[in-house]
Every structure is written in structure tokens, then in C-alpha cells.
């Protein structure tokens, strides 16, 4: 089975769960006065779940004849590409999300930028370090000082 039909199967599952919530569990919590309304919070989701299920079944069963197009990247040969780099970068983004608050903006961001270019194969430390540090400083100054949006600059234990 091709990837697009696997995805359609997953989406059908999503629509079923969503539809189950909308059709069977949501209306129970509805306040009595709201039940006189012509429209309930679940009305729109009910309609959506039916449309979504129908569309995913059409794709899943291959009812629509599609022209096979040459994709930009062939997912069947994913290991031929730089998969490791992509996964490492995704991991780095997750790490950044988790570290942003506890370790502060300045440290997390410069580390993210340096490690990011390191993963991609950059080894010129003399360019990498100043560029990352400078960019971090400029963005922090712009967002925090000029725009006034609070970003905790330093790690919590230093008192940032």
C-alpha cells in the first residue's frame, strides 16, 4: 500500500475518534438551557467528521484515479538522502523547546545556532561563533528591548 493510503487510514482513524467524541460524548455535558439552541457546540464537528471520513475513504479505497507524479523526494529511498542530519536537527529543535525557559534565551539560542550549523557540517569555528553570538544578541535586543516582549535572558539559577 502506498504511503498516501496509509496516511488516509490514519486520518480515517482521527476522524472516527473525533466523530465519536462529537456524536456520543460531547452532548452529555451540555447545560439544559443550551439544548434549546438550534445549534450545539457539537453540530459543526459532527458535519466535519462525516465529510472527513468520506474523503479519507475515497483516498483509502482509491476511488479517484490519480496521475502518479514524480515527487521532489522519493520517500521509498529516504536513506539515500541526508536523513541523519534532518533527524538530528529535529532533535535539536525539541531540545531547544525544552531548554528555552530553564536555561534562558541567550544560552539556548546561541547553542542552537552553533550546533545547528555544526550538524550541517560547518567546522569554521571562527565564523560560526561570532555569527551565532551576534545574531542571538541582536534578536534578543530587538525583541526584548525594542519590542518589549519578555524573553528570560539568563538561566533561572543565575536569576535571569
Amino acid at each position: 500500500m502506498a504511503l498516501d493510503r496509509w496516511i488516509a487510514l490514519i486520518l480515517a482513524g482521527v476522524c472516527l475518534t473525533y466523530g465519536y467524541t462529537a456524536w456520543f460524548t460531547m452532548d452529555g455535558e451540555l447545560a439544559p438551557f443550551m439544548q434549546r439552541n438550534p445549534i450545539w457546540p457539537s453540530t459543526f464537528p459532527k458535519v466535519l467528521s462525516v465529510i472527513g471520513l468520506a474523503a479519507s475513504l475515497v483516498i483509502l479505497l482509491g476511488l479517484e484515479k490519480a496521475k502518479v507524479q514524480k515527487a521532489e523526494i522519493d520517500y521509498r529511498r529516504l536513506t539515500d538522502y541526508h536523513l541523519g542530519q534532518a533527524l538530528l536537527l529535529l532533535g535539536l529543535m525539541v531540545a531547544y523547546a525544552l531548554c528555552l525557559r530553564p536555561l534562558g534565551f541567550l544560552f539556548s539560542t546561541s547553542a542552537f545556532l552553533i550546533l545547528g550549523s555544526f550538524i550541517l557540517g560547518e567546522r569554521k569555528w571562527l565564523v560560526m561563533l561570532p555569527v551565532s553570538l551576534l545574531a542571538t544578541g541582536i534578536v534578543w535586543y530587538l525583541v526584548q528591548q525594542v519590542l518589549g516582549i519578555y524573553l528570560r535572558p539568563l538561566p533561572g539559577f543565575i536569576g535571569g
Binding site: 496516511i7 438550534p38 453540530t43 474523503a55 529516504l78 541526508h82 523547546a97
Partner: protein
Amino acid sequence: MLEGLLIGLQTALSFQNLLMVIGGCLIGTFIGMLPGLGPMSIIAIMIPVAISMGDPSAALILLAGVYYGAIFGGSTSSILLNAPGVAGTVASSFDGYPMAKQGKAGKALTIAAIASFAGGSIGALLLMIFAPALSTVALLFHSAEYFALMVVGLSAIAAFAGTGQVAKALMMTTLGLIMATVGEGALFNLPRFTMGIMDLQSGFGFITLAMAMFALPEALFLVLNPKAQAGKGEEIKELRVTRQEAKSIAPVIGRQSLQGFFIGVLPGAGATIASFLGYAVERNIASKEEQSEFGKGSIKGLAAPETANNAACTGSFVPLLTLGIPGSGTTAILLGALIALNVTPGPRLMIDEPQIFWAVIMSMFIGNLVLLVLNLPLIPYIAKVLAIPRNYLIPFILFFTLMGAYIGQNNATELLLLVAFGICATALRFADYPLAPLLIGFILGGMLEDNFSRSMQLYDGIAFIWERPMTLGLLVIAALLVILPSYRNRRARLRAQGVADGD
């Protein structure tokens, strides 16, 4: 009117006000380039500055300059990095980014600048002529019509469905609508589908989703397959628009200025719907071979949304200035600024304080002109962004997507959502699902449901569909927009089969 024009020109052309326009445009353009900071937040940030000036015309002129600058700045990140920071420029990335990928970044930015200029100026002209008359039309639109208008906007999915892909486009639109129902709706005050997670109470952030759908998969694709990088350090060539190209986009600009302006006049519709509709309409009326260009770097596909969103921004000033009703988030903030400056917009504004009314209109013309003059020489430098070595460009793109999602909500969970959605979006792209319909569904979903619910309550059922002729008319148009292209496709396929049989 002539007298008013002269008053306006006199106010707008004073040295101080000219500085305001130039400063506003520059600030707007540069901050607007950062994804995550749209016109609304930039104007909100500039309000203290504007109020402290004390002179209402100068303040409004400054804010209008920021507004136009921010919209243009937003288009540059859509075109160069496929990272639309504002809902109104999402449609610009459909064709702008493919153009940049083909090494035509300079041309794409030039077309965007010219289309924005034309849309904004024609819009201002229409505002001048029609403002008083249009205020009554805007009031004719009720929630039933808004609902129908959103449906027309959603029928833009037909424009993204390739041959035999209608089910996929429909699936993605529905998924977007489903995602829009997560969180607390304005009408019911009930959290829905949050799975008990506090952070989902306010729903998914638009910027998070936009970044996850467009910028993140694009960056991952660049990592996976380095050969496909846009520009790739080549000289930025083909900056100029040829005469033939100018000829082909001129009618698009003309039509979309009108259409965009009138959509912008309707409170609540605004630049986003105008740009999607503009894209869909232009694609549907283009000739067969031009149609296949759409989505792959068509200049018409770039000019249409760019013109329409600028014209719509100008149009949204009509209800603000004539009725005192803000039609969008941005104009609502402007209304707040005006009231703080002791000016009450409304039907009396034109009579009581004509110098403010006309100065704003004149500053729109000047703002657009300044934007064009400032930006055209800057374009080669802006396009140089693509010449940054890949090892630095990709971490920075990833960082800006993260920043955009974080600034908007100030919530670290949003960043995890961004990565998770980004991975899903990449998988969807592998399987050839179109991602634009998902985002369109998400953007319009909330408004669609609100207006639908409101009209259901007013009419106690779905009677509003046949009791209001305008609603019915709009819904018929929506149906036609979906059916016509697939009918055309079907006929073309049947004809092709016929030829094959004869062989």
C-alpha cells in the same frame, strides 16, 4: 471633493508628515520580515509612539505607513523562505516561493512590490470615491452572508487540487477545519477537543501551524536534498519584468484591485479571504496552459494575491472611517489609537474633521509610492538572503520558525507542537497531499463556524440559506467554483481517452 483633496494634500505633504510616512514604511517593512510579527502586533507596538505625538493626522499617517510596510515585509519572507508570517500573505508563497527556487527571487519581489503598489493605490482611489456610499453596503452583509463568503473562500481548494486530487484537497481542508474547532469557541464558551490539556484551551496558534506547514518541511527538504536549494548562490538574475509579462499581469492587477477592495470593505472578511479568493478566481479564469503554471511559479499567481491583499487593507479603512466599525484586528487597534487621540471615527468624521479624513487618504497614496521607491532599489539586497551559505541559512530558518511560534503565544509547549506538526506535514508532503488547503481551512474555520452558528440562531434553523437571496447567490458561486474545474478536467480526460481509442 476637490477641496478636501487639497486640504489632505496640504496636511500630508508637510515635512513632518512625510518623515512619518517614510519612517513608518521602513519600520513596518523590517519588522514585518520577521515571521511571527504581523501588522497587528507591529501597530500595537507603535501605538505609544503615535499617541505621544499628539497630532492625530500625523499619528494616523505613521500607523498607515507601518501597516503597508508590514504587509510588504510579510510577503518577502513568504517569497524567499516559504515562511508566511501573516495570514494575508500565505497565498503569496504558493507561487512566490517556486519562483525564488528557480532563481527568480528578484523578479518575484519586484512583481510583489509593483502589485502591492497598484493594489494599494487603486484601493485608495476607490476609497476616495466610494467611501460614503459603501458604508451602507457593508451594513447589508449579515452573518449568513459572511458564512456564504467563507464557503466561497474555502472553495479555493478547487484551485489546489491537481488532476484526480480532489479528495486529498478536500481531506486537508476538513482536517484544517477540524483543527480550528480545538479550543474554546467564542460562541459557546466551552473547551472542545482539548483532551484536558491546558495549553490547548486557546486552540492552536496560527503562526505555529503556518510555520509547521510551510517553512519547516521546506527546511527539512533542503537538509535532505541539498541539491534543490533555492538560488544556490547564483547571481540574482532577471530582476526586470519584461514587457510581455507586464502585459499579462496588468489585467490581473486591475481585476484584483477591484475585487480585493470590495472584499476588504466587508467587516471581518479582510485581506486573507481577499488573497485566497483572488488566487482562486485568477486560476479559474486563466487559460489552460497558464493554469498548469499555477503553483509552480506563475507570475499571475503571485500578482493576484499581492494586489488583492493590499487593496483589501485599504478597503478595510472604509467601515472604520465612515461607520466607526473596525473590520479587522488591525483596524480595531487603529480605532483604539484614534479614540486615544480624541478623534471619533464615524459618519461625522468627514464633516467635522475633514483634514484628518483626507490626510489619511492622501497618505495612503504617498505611503504606497514611498514603499515602492524605497523597496525597488533594496530588492537585490533583500534577495541576497538566499545566497547565505546553507550551513547558516537552515539553522536560522529553523530558529525564526521557533521564534515566530514562541513570540506569538509566549508558550514553550507551542514549540513542541510546531516540531510535531512539522514532522506530520513533511510526511503529508511525501505522500503528495496539498498543505495549503489545511491552512486555509484552519484560518477560515473559526469565522465560518461563528457566522454559521449566529445565522442558525437568528433563523432558528437553516432557513437562512433560501430566505436570503445574497447568501444563496454566494453559495451557488462557491459550488460553481468547485464544479467547473473538475468538470473541465473530466471533459479533457474523456477527450484524451477518445483519442487513445482511435489509435
